[in-house]
Symmetry: C2
Subunit: 611 residues, 2 copies
C-alpha cells in the first residue's frame, strides 16, 4: 500500500500521478472499511479525498495552517498526517475523534465541531503570522452548507477587507446535511453552471479574489489551482465543485442518508441498525414529528423550524414535503432561526424550533433578547442535551441547563419521560404567553408509567386552566402547568429531585436507600430547571433534612445550585450531583457517571455519610 510508505504529508510530492490516484483509491477504501463498521461522516469525506490530497501536496502542514470548517470531513487529512492506522486497523478505530483535534496532531489547528468558524479562525492565524512577520500560508476549508451561517459571512467579509495571504477553499457539493436553504445557493449554482464566470459573485462582492475548479476530483486541476493562488497577497476563494459521497454509489445516490450514519453494509449500502444512543434521539425525533402533526390538527398556525438538521426532529424528506408551509429550514443559521421564530410568534403563528444542545449556544442572544424580552410564545426543543448523547467534546450536550435555565422569562422544562414530553410540547404549542424550552431526556423510557404523564395531560385541557398550585408568577419566572415539582413517592428525611433523565436514577437510589437504611425517601420529578418551586421546597423542610438534586448536565450555573441557594439560610442540607466542569475529549458513559457520583450505590453511600 502506498499509504504505508508515507511518513509525512510532504512525501506526497515524491509520488507520481499514477501513485497519487492509487493513493486516493486506498484512502477511499480505508474510509469505507472503517465507516461501514463503526459509522461516521461518509459522504462528506468521500467527497474531499482529492481536495485534501491536493492541499497537502501544495501546502506544507503543519508550518502551513489548515483550518477545516466543522472538521467532520478531515478523515483524509488525518490519514495523511500520521493517523492512517486509526482507519486501517480495527483496534485503533477509536484512537481518534471524528473532528479536528490538536491533542492528536500538530496538523490540527483547532478543536472544531461547530460550523462556520473556519474563515474567522484562519483570519486570526493569518494576522498572528503577519504581526510576527512570519511567512507561512493559511488555508480555510469550508463547505457550501456552512456558508449559510452568519459567522461564515462575518469571516468572509472581514477577509475581504484584509490585505494578506489567505486561501479560502470552498468545498461545494451542493449539500448541507440535507439540501441547502437560502438565496445564496442560487448564486453558487449559477457560479457552478457558468464555471465560475458569471457576473453575480457573492465572494467578489465581499472584496475577495475568486477562482473556480470545475472538477474537484481531478488532482491535477486542484494541484495546479492551489499552486497558482498559494502566494497571493490578498485572500482568494477557491470554489471547488465536488460530489458528496464520490466513489461509492450508495453514498452518491443518497447524500442525506450518508451524511452521517452508524454503520452500513459495504456491499449493498444498506444502513445498519442504529445503536442505543441514536435510538433515544431518533425516537424523540419521531415523537416530535408525531406530536406536531397532531397539534396541527387543532392549530394550523403551528410551524416547525430547523437549522439544517431536519431529520433530527423527525422531518425527513417525506415529512417535509407533507408539512409544506408548516415546516421551515433556515439552513445552518441558528440565530436567524430563533429571530424568525420570534417574528412568527409575534405575527400570530406558533413556532417550534428544534436544535441540538450545543448548537443552541449559537442563538443565546436571540433567545434572551428577541424571544424573551417580549415573552413571545416560541417553543424550543433541545435535542441531545444529555451525557448519553454524542460524546465528542465539540458536540457534547452537557451545558444546556446553565445555558438556558437562567434566562429571564424562559421556562426550561425537563420532561422525564416520552409521555411527559408529549404533554409539555402539546401544551406549549397551544399557549401564547410563555417562551418555552424543553430539554429532552437522554434515555427514552417511561420511568414512572402512566401516572404523571396522564396528570400533566389532564392539566393541559384548558389553556387558561393552570394547575391550582402553579406558583404565582414571580417576575422573570413564567408560570406553566409544569412549574411545580411533582411528588412521585412521598417519604421523609431525604428527598431526591431527579431532573429529566435522572428521575430514573432518583428512583433507583431511593429504592437502594430504603433497602440499605430503611429510610423511605421522597422522590420528586422537578420538571422545570428554571427557577425553583418555592412552595414545594418550603414544605419539604417539615419532614426532610437532606435534598439530593440530580441533573443531566454540568452543575455549575445549573439546577441544583438554585435549590442550594434557596435553602441557603435554612438547616436543610443539599447535595448537588451532576457533571463537573471537566471537558473530556471523549468519554465512556459508565465511567463518567461513576466519576461524578451518579450511581445509586454512590448516592446512597454519600447520603449515609451526610446523615
Amino acid at each position: 500500500m502506498i499509504l504505508d510508505t508515507l511518513h509525512s504529508p510532504q512525501d506526497l510530492r515524491t509520488l507520481n500521478q499514477e501513485q497519487l490516484l492509487a493513493l486516493a483509491k486506498e484512502i477511499r477504501q480505508a474510509i469505507l472499511q472503517k465507516t461501514s463498521q463503526v459509522g461516521g461522516h461518509v459522504g462528506p469525506n468521500l467527497g474531499v479525498v482529492e481536495l485534501t490530497l491536493a492541499l497537502h501536496y501544495v501546502f506544507s502542514s503543519p508550518k502551513d495552517k489548515l483550518v477545516f470548517d466543522v472538521s467532520h470531513q478531515t478523515y483524509t487529512h488525518k490519514i495523511l498526517t500520521g493517523r492512517a492506522q486509526a482507519f486501517l486497523q480495527k483496534d485503533h478505530f477509536h484512537d481518534i475523534s471524528g473532528f479536528s483535534s490538536p491533542v492528536e496532531s500538530e496538523h490540527d489547528t483547532f478543536t472544531v465541531g461547530h460550523t462556520s468558524t473556519s474563515v474567522a479562525l484562519a483570519l486570526g492565524l493569518a494576522r498572528a503570522r503577519d504581526l510576527q512577520k512570519q511567512k507561512h500560508h493559511v488555508v480555510a476549508i469550508i463547505g457550501d452548507g456552512a456558508l449559510s451561517g452568519g459567522e461564515a459571512f462575518e469571516g468572509l467579509d472581514n477577509a475581504g477587507a484584509y490585505a494578506g495571504n489567505l486561501t479560502i477553499v470552498l468545498n461545494d457539493n451542493n449539500f448541507s446535511i440535507a439540501p441547502n436553504q437560502g438565496g445564496l445557493y442560487a448564486n453558487l449554482k449559477a457560479l457552478r453552471e457558468s464555471k465560475g464566470t458569471c457576473e453575480q459573485n457573492y465572494f467578489k462582492d465581499l472584496g475577495l479574489d475568486y477562482v473556480y475548479v470545475e472538477d474537484g476530483h481531478n488532482l491535477d486541476a486542484l494541484i495546479e489551482t492551489f499552486t497558482s493562488v498559494k502566494e497571493s497577497e490578498k485572500p482568494v476563494v477557491v470554489h471547488v465543485r465536488t460530489q458528496k459521497g464520490k466513489g461509492y454509489a450508495p453514498a452518491q445516490e443518497n447524500p442525506e442518508l450518508f451524511h452521517s450514519l452508524s454503520g452500513f453494509d459495504l456491499e449493498t449500502g444498506e444502513p445498519a441498525q442504529t445503536g442505543q444512543i441514536t435510538d433515544a434521539a431518533a425516537l424523540f425525533g419521531r415523537d416530535t414529528h408525531r406530536i406536531i402533526q397532531a397539534a396541527l390538527q387543532q392549530n394550523d398556525k403551528i410551524i416547525a423550524l430547523n437549522a439544517a438538521t431536519p431529520g433530527m426532529m423527525g422531518f425527513g424528506p417525506r415529512e417535509r414535503a407533507e408539512a409544506g408551509e408548516h415546516f421551515l429550514d433556515v439552513g445552518i443559521a441558528e440565530p436567524a432561526a430563533v429571530s424568525v421564530a420570534a417574528g412568527l410568534a409575534r405575527g400570530g403563528a406558533q413556532p417550534v424550533f428544534a436544535v441540538r444542545s450545543s448548537f443552541a449556544q449559537r442563538a443565546y442572544d436571540q433567545i434572551a433578547q428577541d424571544v424573551c424580552i417580549d415573552s413571545l410564545p416560541v417553543t424550543i426543543v433541545v435535542f441531545t442535551g444529555s451525557l448519553y448523547a454524542m460524546h465528542d467534546v465539540t458536540h457534547q450536550g452537557l451545558g444546556d441547563i446553565p445555558l438556558l435555565s437562567s434566562i429571564p422569562n424562559l421556562a426550561y422544562l425537563c420532561p422525564a419521560t416520552p409521555k411527559e414530553y408529549e404533554a409539555m410540547l402539546t401544551w406549549s404549542l397551544s399557549q401564547r404567553e410563555v417562551p418555552v424550552a424543553i430539554k429532552l431526556p437522554g434515555v427514552y423510557e417511561e420511568v414512572y408509567g402512566e401516572q404523571a404523564g396522564a396528570k400533566a395531560l389532564a392539566q393541559k385541557q384548558n389553556e387558561n386552566d393552570l394547575d391550582a398550585n402553579v406558583p404565582s408568577k414571580a417576575p422573570g419566572h413564567p408560570a406553566t402547568p409544569f412549574s411545580t415539582y411533582q411528588v412521585i413517592d412521598a417519604g421523609s428525611r431525604v428527598a431526591f429531585l431527579g431532573l429529566g433523565t435522572f428521575l430514573g436514577l432518583a428512583q433507583k437510589a431511593a429504592s437502594l436507600l430504603e433497602k440499605e437504611t430503611g429510610i423511605r425517601s421522597t422522590v420528586i420529578n422537578p420538571r422545570c430547571a428554571s427557577g425553583v418551586d418555592g412552595e414545594c421546597l418550603e414544605q419539604l423542610k417539615k419532614d426532610h433534612e437532606l435534598i439530593v438534586t440530580l441533573e443531566d448536565g454540568r452543575v455549575e450555573g445549573g439546577f441544583g445550585q438554585k435549590v442550594a441557594a434557596f435553602y441557603g439560610t435554612d438547616d436543610m442540607q443539599v447535595l448537588v450531583r451532576g457533571l463537573s466542569q471537566e471537558l473530556l475529549r471523549k468519554y465512556c458513559v459508565e465511567d463518567l457517571l461513576k466519576q461524578n457520583g451518579l450511581t445509586a450505590p454512590q448516592l446512597v453511600s454519600s447520603i449515609q455519610e451526610i446523615l
Copy 2:
C-alpha cells in the same frame, strides 16, 4: 405646528409636499431640542427623518409591520406614532425608551436593541402572515453598519429563498458607530457610486430584488420608490443613501461623536460633560487603552480587538491610527471577533477583545468552543456589566455572570477597583495558558486602596510564579493569580463576599453591622466569579456561621449560587444577594438596589434576622 395636527401616521397623506417638508423640519428640531438636553442617538436619527416619513406615508402601520434594526433610529417613528410629546415636552422626555418598545405602542413590533436581527424578525412576521392568509405588508429597516453582523446575512439569505412580500430598506449612511469594517462596504460604495447599477451586487447575489434611491432625503423619491415596491411578491431591498446627522452641521461633520452622546450645546455642537455612568465606562475605556499600550512595550504580539465599539475601549480615531496593526475592528460581528481572537492566540499573538456585557451573548458559542475547548489565551474585557450601566432593557448588563461564569476553562475575573483591573489585564496579556474574561466594575473607585492592587501586581512578576495558595487546577477551573479569595478584613461570624462592584457595599455593610451589633465581620474580595475558592470557603467554616454573597448581576446561575452549593451539606448559612430575574424596561438605580436588598441597612437587617 403640523405635528400637533397629526393623530396617526395615516394623517401624513393629508399633507401636501410643502407641509411634509415643514414637518420634517419640525421633527429635526424636536430631535435636536431633546437630544441636546438629555442626549441620545443624534446622527442616526437625523439621517432617517425623510425615510421614516416616507415609510409611514406609503405603509399603514400598525397593520403593516415595520421592524427597525437596533431601533436606535426610531425617534421620527415614535414622533409620528403618538409619542411626539416625549420629544416636545421636557417633562415627558423620559416617557419613552431609546429603542423600539411594544409596551409603548402597537406600532413597535418588537423590543429591539441588538443589531442585525430585523430581517429575520421581519421574515418571521411575513411567514406568519402567509400562514394565516393575511394581506398586510412587512418592512425591515436596517443600516449599513448592521450588515456586518452574521445574523443580517442569515436573514437576507433566507429572504432570498422566500417567495412573498417583504421590503428590506437599507439605510446606507456609510457609517457604523465608527467607520464601517469589511469587504462588503466596498460593494456598497460601488453601488452608491454607480447609483445602484453596477453588476457587483451583494443583494442580488442572495436572490433579492434591488432598487436604489440616490437621495435618501428627497421625500418624493422615497415615497415613489416605496410605492413601487410595496406590492412586490418577492423580497426587495431598497438601498437608500442617507447622510448621518443630516440637517445639523456639527453632526454631519463628526458622525462618530454624534452617533450617541449625552448632551450638547445646540448652538455650537460642543458635547456636554458626560454623567456619572458614562464616566465609569469612559474611565475604564481610557485605562484599557493605557494598559494595553503599556503592555505592548513588553509584548509586541498584543492586538486589541473590537466589534464596532472601538471608542468604548479607549481607541478613538487617533488611538487606532497609532496602534496600527495592533488594533482590529471586525465590524458588528462579535462571533467572528472571538474566533479571530482564537486564531490569533493559536497563532502566537496575544488578543484582547473588549465587548459590552449584553453583546457578549452573541459570541457565547465561540467563547465556549473556539476559545475554551483548547484553552487559548484570549482575554475578553466585559464593559457595562453592571446595574450602574445602561438601563434600557435591551442593553442592560445584568446577565454576564450567569453567561460567563460557568463556561469550562474560562476564568471570569471580577476586579473591584481600577488598580485591580490593571493588575488582572496586565497579567492576562502576559500569559499563554488561560482563557480569561474580566468584568469591569460598575463604579470607578479605589474602594480599598493600594493594598490589594499592589499585592496582585506583585503576583504578576513571573508568568509561572502563581500565588502559593492558588488552588490546584481542578479540571475546567483554570488557575490564575486571582482565583483565590482575598481577605480584606478578617473577622468572625459573618463573612461578606463582595464581588466586583459590590466590594464597597460589603465594606459598608460590615461597618454598619459592627456599629449596630458589635459583630466584626470578615470582608472578602472574591475576585473571580467562576468556580469557588474551596480552601478559603473551608477555612471560613471555623469561625463563621453566615456567608453573604453580593454580585452586580442576576443571581440565577450566578456566583452566590455556587457558594451556596459549596456549603450545601454544611451548617454554614449563605445569603445570596444580587438582582432578581425581573426584566425591567428601565429602572432607577437606587430603587433597584432597594428592591433587591442591596443596601447596607437592608443587609444588616437581614443578617440580624438570620443570626
